[in-house]
Assembly symmetry: C2
Homo-oligomer: 220 residues x 2
């Protein structure tokens, strides 16, 4: 085993993208000192945090002596290259492509549409009331999860987890999205394969310990 | 050199995500047979294409004898693993993380907000008129490119291209976003570093040949 780097992770309890990184760290038995940035209090715009990340985004991972790393998928790939085992991507390039494609459907095509900055725009500039925002959330969670369910249900590579019988990056992205849906009490019907895989994930300490409700700052 | 696989790429002239794959194929001197899916005519919902990609998304890459690959960033990583040289990612894990982070800011945090399916929702369910849609586009192109400009302008790893003096994955994502902005005649002010890097990209045949206006099906 190589020496593990000293890591700091800037987090917020409810952040879906931060959840992904927490799970990956747990699975790889790596640790990072968590630094809470309270988004509800606007701390991501504080001078102190903007010195770490000029863009004010979470999560941000800092390895001692190196520039901060932003974007959760970039951080997951970085952790995979830093500590390859247990692997979160399959060994073959076609399997890796499938897992990264599933990650993209969740973390790129779905999650960015329901972030706080989008909510802020739609409910001010966009004229959305609370009901319209909820329809928007329901629409995009629904489109994303329904499409992922369709793939997982019919593609032969699906196993106990999204890809085979080993937990990996696609499971992390899937669980992170659903964790946020639970915060907002939104459900997508007719997703039995996703429900089955999520149950397998929840049984793992790495996921259970990363749940939003169990983080520092979460409502009681 | 290993034998190159036989590839088919499902495309549409204006698709920003498809532009990324075209440039990567060009840079790696790989070829793919292009199959045009006319989004304006709804062909992505045709039975024939849904047999290739049940989700109706572009681009989709098919290597003969293997399942289709969707999501442009997953395809870029796949091409990088299939034909490693010329490399589109740096050799060191910190450099790779920086490039993937820039890609995420462009392809995950920005582009998904201005896709046709979002336009359709906002201009029907969301009550947006054409002016409101244009303000929405301008907002998210602006936020994304301004943030990327801020990084590129102040981070020492920036060179002739986004990362050093060699063209790579971040340049591809940057050029793809700006190519679509040009289609919609949207400009983001105060982005001189981006303008400089894009000029370097445009000077390369790999980018010039991938421009939306030069593809089959583009308006004359």
């Amino acid at each position: 085993m190589t020496d593990l780097p000293e890591l700091e992770l800037y987090t917020f309890w409810r952040s879906s993208a931060t959840f992904r990184v927490r799970v990956a760290l747990n699975l790889k038995q790596m640790s990072a000192t968590e630094k809470v940035i309270n988004i509800d209090a606007g701390e991501q715009r504080s001078a102190a945090f903007l010195r770490i990340n000029p863009l004010g985004g979470l999560p941000t991972l800092v390895e001692a002596g190196h520039p901060p790393i932003t974007q959760s998928l970039a951080i997951l790939e970085f952790l995979e290259e830093t500590r390859p085992l247990p692997a979160l991507l399959p060994a073959d390039r076609h399997g890796r492509a499938r897992v990264r494609s599933l990650c993209g459907m969740l973390a790129s095509d779905t999650h960015p549409l329901i972030t706080p900055r989008v909510r802020k725009y739609l409910t001010t500039e966009g004229g959305f009331d609370d009901a319209a925002w909820r329809r928007w959330q329901t629409q995009w969670f629904g489109v994303g999860l329904t499409a992922v369910e369709e793939r997982l249900a019919c593609e032969p590579q699906t196993g106990l987890f999204c890809h085979g019988d080993t937990v990996g990056m696609a499971d992390i992205c899937l669980a992170s999205l659903v964790a946020v849906m639970r915060v907002f009490k939104i459900e997508v019907p007719n997703t039995p394969t996703i429900a089955r895989i999520l149950a397998s994930c929840s049984a793992l300490d790495a996921f259970a310990h990363a749940e939003p409700g169990r983080q520092v700052g979460a409502p009681g």
